[in-house]
Amino acid sequence: MTDLLDIATRVAGWAKDGEQVEAFVVHERETEVRAYEGEVESLTSAESQGIGVRVISDGKQGYAYAGTLDHDALEETLREARDNAGFAETDEFNGVASPDGVATANLELYREGLVSFPTDDKVALAIELERATRATDPRIAGIESAEYIDSLYESAVATSTGIASVTRETGCYLAAYALAEENGETQTGFGFSIGREPSDLDPSVAAQDAADRATRLLGSIKPPTERLTVVLDPWVTAQLLGIVGHTLTGDAVLKGRSLFAERMGEEVAAGAITLVDDATNPAAFTASMVDGEGLAIRSTPLISDGILSGFLHNSYSGRRSGTASTGSAARGGFKSAPGVGAHALALQPGDRQPSDLIAEIDDGFLVQGVAGLHSGVNPVSGDFSTGAEGLRIRNGELAEPIREVTIASTLQRLLQDVVAIGNDTEWLPMNAAGVTLVIADVTMSGA
């Protein structure tokens, strides 16, 4: 295929005098194998590419994209972005990124081991995952899905201001959704295994996790409403961190949509909380060398010992805040202009195992899954309410499973009410690491 950076620099080079142009070019190959009852249910082999062009002229921004890299489409996309800019309004802080001298970390994110992995072996992994999941426990009565997914992703960003960056990453994962059944009751659980190449993957881990999560909930009841201590399992904590990260973006802060906007330097969380966004950590599934505007990824402290210490910025929000980009431009593909977002959030872990933390709780709730974070959490007001399921904790031990409850508080209070953090940091297929988190005084709403 044609070199992506060549295409991006060519388009950026078409900028007229007094105009800034940024071209973002993507090429991705994906394979997805779904297994069901020992057979391939579906096998998708996908190759996609596209370009997104941002034009800034007189402080006005326009964007356009095309799902092809044909020469004609490149010119048309630039023309369209330029035309769009003419209808926007001037913002003196609009602009693409410029080279800022920060060196790019050298991460090994591209593995030949994935590129050369034969399709037949991908199929075998998916089928093995399904078989292993069914075999873990006689109560596993079915599988909602068992899949192998991989991606070979390449992108380039070039600007008329001199940015020229490329990134090339491989990634793959196995995911199983198991159905456990007993006495006419069904419960579900998922498990996964992630890596940069197939040799990182372990179907037995994904299978066991999925089965454990499902069978553990069998016999669950809907408990009465009460306030208690909740223990978030790493999967749930990572999702919570994703929401917190959103409230710490320069975009939310500048536009009055962050509950932390005026609180820099203040105590916003329990002293145990130190939160960093650091996608230069190669262990992160979302590790990356450059951000969505082509600047080097770097480590940004956000909360230090409970004190709010930083916000995330892309070049626009950095410029407008009187600081600079923190390398946090985030893209949701080539169809939209870069926004601001966390790349790889992680809490500094504590020094104790989750089981030791649970042993100290008289009356608690180990939350293993949440539902409706998108519908019951408002990151602007901080209202937090989510469906939850998991295990009751009584006198320091895991007790009966519970379901069909919500847990509710506010984001502000949740962060203040953290009483302990586990030592079990685990990178997950999202922009945050998981770790066991113990939070006091949360309302569990049930029967």
Partner: protein
Amino acid sequence: MLDHELINRTLSTALETGGEFAEVFAEDKRSSSAVFDDGRVEELTSGRDRGAGIRVVVGETTGFAHTADLSETGLANAARAAAAAARGGGRRTRSVAVSPIDVDRGPGARIPPEDVAKATKVGLLTLANEAARGEGAAISQVSARYGDSRRRILVANSDGVLAEDDQIRTLFSVSCVAAGDTGLQTGRESTGRTIGFELFDETDVEEMGRSAANRALTKLGARPAPSGAMPVVVGPGGGGVLFHEACGHGLEADLVAKSASVFAGRVGETVASPMVTLIDDGTMAGEWGHFTIDDEGRPAAHNVLIRDGVLTDYMWDHLRARKEGRPSSGNGRRQSYQHLPMVRMTNTYISNGSDEPADIIASTQSGVYVAQLGGGQVNTATGDFVFGMTEAYLIENGEITEPIREGNLIGNGPEVLTRIDALGNDFAMGSPGTCGKDGQGVPVGDGTPTLRVTSLTVGGTAA
């Protein structure tokens, strides 16, 4: 979009390795949007996606490949890739001849988005912003978004089907932030229809701005939501999300076939209060989930899923229907040519009951009235579902009283369906939604009259 002979040759290539069924889905989609935020027209975006997805089925296996290259070579390569994925039938030659199916196209869009000047679209945003800010100094931020899309699709398969559709959708939303002593609150209003720019003949964007602003302002004085199980009255329109989650997904035949639905094996049984008649209807012209043909070339249909509380049928796509030897119900949909189709809802609604809405509220001693719902989520295997309330009030002694803060409600689908004890005569469609399933989003509509559930768990913090 593609020449008939080219389609026939592509399908034959796809069947070369012994496929039993092959399909070409071609799509050409243009989208545009304009965003107003923070006091200015922030950005306009436009784009085009064009390509084809090719599917080959052998036995229980589906092979799928897609390409942005609609030339003979590009299509042949994708056809071979899909065929290789579903190999196993041995080599053979099978010729295919497709012919167009006859469908009622309806009136279609009166004003296609490409006929409207960008400046006109942008002008709507400014109007909405001004109206919203005019509602009070406490309105601290306003964003407004205009979006349109024109999606032309062509579906052809080895059963000889050839169908095309031209789907035009227009969307407008306003989101406000209000700042007060209690912090920040938000309010949102959105409308979306499967029509062109004539949407704005019937939609007053200034009224939308005022309504979004007032939602945010009202919530500045909101109390923490209660916790625990209680009667919940859902206003007209909004309850569609409840049914979408409580049972809609559970009636999708792909989940039923894997026993991943609490409604598996229950056709003919009473699953809901006798007041409930649930319909999924892709033919509702203009509604957000409307289309003429689905993404497998099947005409949209009016499907009764629950009649007077009795489960009558599931929703079907081509693959599940083929296995059962029955026709698809026109529910095979996909996000784009880069995705495999699966069973999806269209416009899902509960038809009118006979109660007066005011009587439903007056006969509720204490509980919660939900005026606007956010999204939701369901675990179809257990039936447990949540949905968010973005505008809600307490009901005290039969009257709507104070506003409450946002949160989720949680319930179990089969239980909640039997607990509906009042259904109003004020049917309305709800806000346009994007339904997510297996990572694919498709536009869906929903609607209900005012209704009451005798007991649902409200996920607040107050005692």
